[in-house]
């Protein structure tokens, strides 16, 4: 059939299984919007294109499917950039479709013209400029395939306005996409399996470093089998959280800059690190020169460019983690590692004394307590979306996930403003699940306009706004490393309760710990989106902390004098 390029776009997207898109119309994308009305597509009108990209990302993280964002040319497209970069760093499969000025005007500095493929070249897995209708279908099919396969990532397709308008022949193409320069279905290289199994057998103090690759390759079951057979404890990266049950006795918790002290200590003392689908980010390793000095490393990753990028691997296996573990698991010997595990238990007990959960707030509301209570009140079953900063680290430490795919957070890029739009996206992927947004007052204000999207779409979110009236994480760095000179971190905030109400949503305020439960329960029992502002202590820091670039074991711990000053007389709460 002969149809317009705009219709070809929707035909192809529907064929690819797309039913929800997040976007914002404008001149250069109008033909696409006009054609959209004739297709079974739910369009979510965002308030800023950055929100559209984060929503597509949140949708992808919550569903494992492709998220789609649409924007017009020029400023519409450049507003996507932060969201695209976020998806790139965290390997999230999103497709961004942008309008472009007509092909005869490209390069002339036309109204709302930007070289969008140029701008997004280093922050996309791949991108395309399409200037004829007949290219649209094959390009969209390729784009979807590239975004979803291998190590997933964002793909952008920039479509000139004339290509949207002109007619071309369209037949549904059911063949598989084949690209001569892109072969992501890597089979693990078999020769390394035995040497890996031998190293695992020989190790006395092994630690598994589980990253998002476990989730992306759906290797949760295989990881559990690996652990049950070898009794090797599992440390997780921020994005790996959920890939191994938090309540499993072999779970150590999160590693890295704000990881648990015993996790980092165990990594430093280890003689074998098993890196499963993680990339040794600097927030995970600290000083590379002193990182796990006595450990051999087995690195399994689907992306060959991650091997030996940061840490030299003694055995490297490039391939899908699930396929790899299926090959490795039968080669493993049953092990107990009792001495090593007992040693880690001792480290854990030392840390427990300093844990803020074991200290009273002494009249102050602490963010860590709020998140801990939220975890208990939701039985750990909520889908949690966090923003970036202190609350994010407390959420990682105190909201314990037993199920995979229940945490969405901006890890690699650390994008403030991510939480609210990403949660809106997640809502469309998981219409019936309880979703909690945990967000700070700084990040919330970066994308708070999307409250209007919540209203317009009539969706239910629970927003826990952790308000300390500071850019808390920056404030913490200023306290620790800049002589307590608080440059540009105190915030004068709006009345968040009124802000929620102004959007036709419910706003609640909590100032004491004994109000937390009733507010959380009220939010859970309200049909609409509810924002709870938790007014928390301003001067609380996230512990432990490995200063940027410091040795991983050189953590700043909660000072013992503070622990003693705060500790209740009865020691009953101290484990």
């Amino acid at each position: 059939m002969r149809i317009t390029g705009a219709r070809i776009l929707w035909e192809t997207l529907v064929q690819e299984g797309v039913d929800t898109v997040f976007g914002y119309p404008g001149g250069a994308i109008l033909p696409v919007y006009d054609a959209m009305l004739d297709y079974p597509i739910h369009h979510v009108l965002v308030r800023h294109e950055q929100g559209a990209a984060h929503m597509a990302d949140g949708y992808a993280r919550a569903s494992g499917r492709l998220g789609v964002a649409i924007a017009t040319s020029g400023p519409g497209a450049t507003n996507l950039v932060t969201g695209i970069a976020t998806a790139m760093m965290d390997s999230s499969p999103i497709l961004c479709i942008t309008g472009q000025v007509s092909s005869d005007a490209i390069g002339s500095d036309a109204f709302q013209e930007t070289d969008v493929t140029g701008v997004t070249l280093p922050i996309t897995k791949h991108n395309y400029l399409v200037s004829s209708a007949e290219e649209i279908a094959p390009t969209i099919r390729e784009a979807c395939y590239i975004a979803r396969s291998g190590r997933p990532g964002p793909v952008l397709v920039d479509i000139s306005k004339d290509a949207q308008i002109e007619f071309a022949e369209y037949e549904r193409d059911r063949s598989e996409v084949r690209l001569s320069g892109y072969r992501p279905d890597l089979r693990p290289s078999t020769d390394e399996f035995r040497s890996a199994a031998q190293m695992i057998e020989d190790a006395e103090r092994p630690v598994i470093l589980a990253g998002q690759g476990v989730l992306k390759s759906n290797a949760m079951q295989e990881l559990a089998e690996f652990v049950n057979k070898t009794n090797i404890p599992v440390a997780m990266t921020l994005l790996g959280i959920g890939c191994f049950p938090a309540s499993h006795p072999m779970n150590l918790g999160m590693m890295g800059m704000h990881g648990e002290a015993w996790v980092n200590q165990a990594i430093q003392e280890s003689d074998l690190l098993l890196a499963f689908g993680m990339r040794f980010d600097d927030r995970v390793t600290g000083n590379l020169a002193s990182y796990a000095p006595n450990a051999k490393k087995i690195h399994i990753d689907i992306d060959p460019s991650e091997i030996n990028k940061v840490v030299r691997a003694d055995v490297a296996i490039v391939g899908d983690l699930r396929e790899t573990l299926r090959e490795v698991n039968p080669l493993l010997q049953e092990q107990s590692h009792s001495t090593w595990l007992e040693h880690i238990d001792v480290l854990k007990q030392e840390s427990g004394i300093r844990d803020v959960q074991n200290l009273p707030g002494n009249g102050r509301l602490l963010a860590a307590h709020v998140i801990h209570d939220l975890w208990q009140l939701t039985q750990g079953q909520a889908f949690v979306v966090t923003d970036v900063g202190q609350h994010q680290m407390w959420a990682a430490q105190y909201y314990r996930h037993d199920r995979p795919w229940t945490l969405a957070t901006s890890g690699g890029l650390g994008t403030m403003g991510f939480a609210l739009p990403a949660a809106i996206g997640a809502r469309f992927a998981r219409p019936d699940e309880e979703i909690w947004v945990i967000v700070g007052d700084g990040g919330f204000q970066m994308t708070q306009a999307e409250l209007a999207t919540c209203r317009q779409e009539n969706i239910k979110l629970n927003i826990a706004l952790i308000n300390n009236s500071f850019l808390g994480m920056v404030r913490q760095w200023q306290e620790f490393f800049y002589d307590e000179r608080y440059a540009a971190t105190p915030m004068v905030n709006p009345d968040f309760v009124k802000l929620a109400e102004a959007h036709g949503l419910t706003g609640l305020r909590v100032e004491r710990r004994n109000q937390v439960e009733s507010a959380v329960q009220r939010a859970r029992n309200t049909e609409d989106t509810v924002l709870i502002e938790f007014r928390v202590a301003q001067d609380e820091a996230v512990y432990p902390m490995v200063p940027s670039g410091a040795d991983l074991q050189a953590m700043i711990r909660r000072p013992m004098n503070e622990v003693k000053a705060r500790a209740p007389r009865s020691k009953s709460r101290v484990e």
């Binding site: 493929t117 070249l121 320069g181």
Partner: protein, 177 residues
């Protein structure tokens, strides 16, 4: 303390990559952008058509360590338009750069300049009353050698193509499949 193998691995030296890419708009930009973004320095990059329609061939020369070379290769493969990468550094190969050199050559100097060119098997491709353009093909050292000898006569202008490389023998090695 670095052991010998690690030292060798970290030693920077000239490395040659032959990269087959799809002949599509922006591919050169993608490759160049990759080197810039990952902070890999390019010594030279040449690109041209191949015997196969729709496929271009790049010769990339860079001065890096073994581990960085492996990362370059892996990162090149991540580009969708890159079909195949082969490192020719330690392979038997023909490795050529071409230069055009415009050199002053007035009456009395002209004979000497021509003699030097002869020794280097460089060709004179343009003659003007006061200057010659000399074309020379060869490895870097040869071209540098000629330039050094011509400099006293007054080198007015030079242009170089950058390196191209091809594996010796019958094997075609890096042809995309």
């Amino acid at each position: 303390m670095l052991n010998k193998a690690t030292q060798l691995e970290q030693a920077e030296r000239e490395r040659v990559f032959v990269t087959y890419v799809e002949d599509k708009p922006g591919v050169l930009n993608r490759v160049a952008s990759l080197f810039r973004r990952r902070n890999f320095n390019i010594e030279s990059l040449t690109v041209g058509h191949t015997e196969e329609e729709g496929v271009s061939r790049m010769t990339i020369v860079t001065n890096v360590s073994e581990s960085v070379a492996r990362r370059i290769e892996a990162n090149l493969y991540k580009l969708v338009n890159v079909l195949r990468v082969e490192e020719l550094t330690d392979k038997p190969k023909v490795f050529r750069d071409m230069a055009l050199i415009k050199v002053q050559a007035q009456k009395e100097a002209r004979v000497e300049v021509l003699q030097i060119c002869d020794v280097f098997r460089a060709r004179v491709v343009d003659v003007a009353p006061e200057a010659l353009i000399v074309e020379i093909t060869g490895e870097n050292g040869k071209i540098e050698g000629l330039l050094e000898l011509l400099r006293p006569y007054g080198v007015l202008e030079t242009v170089r193509t950058g390196h191209v490389a091809m594996r010796r023998g019958y094997g075609i090695g890096s042809r995309p499949t």
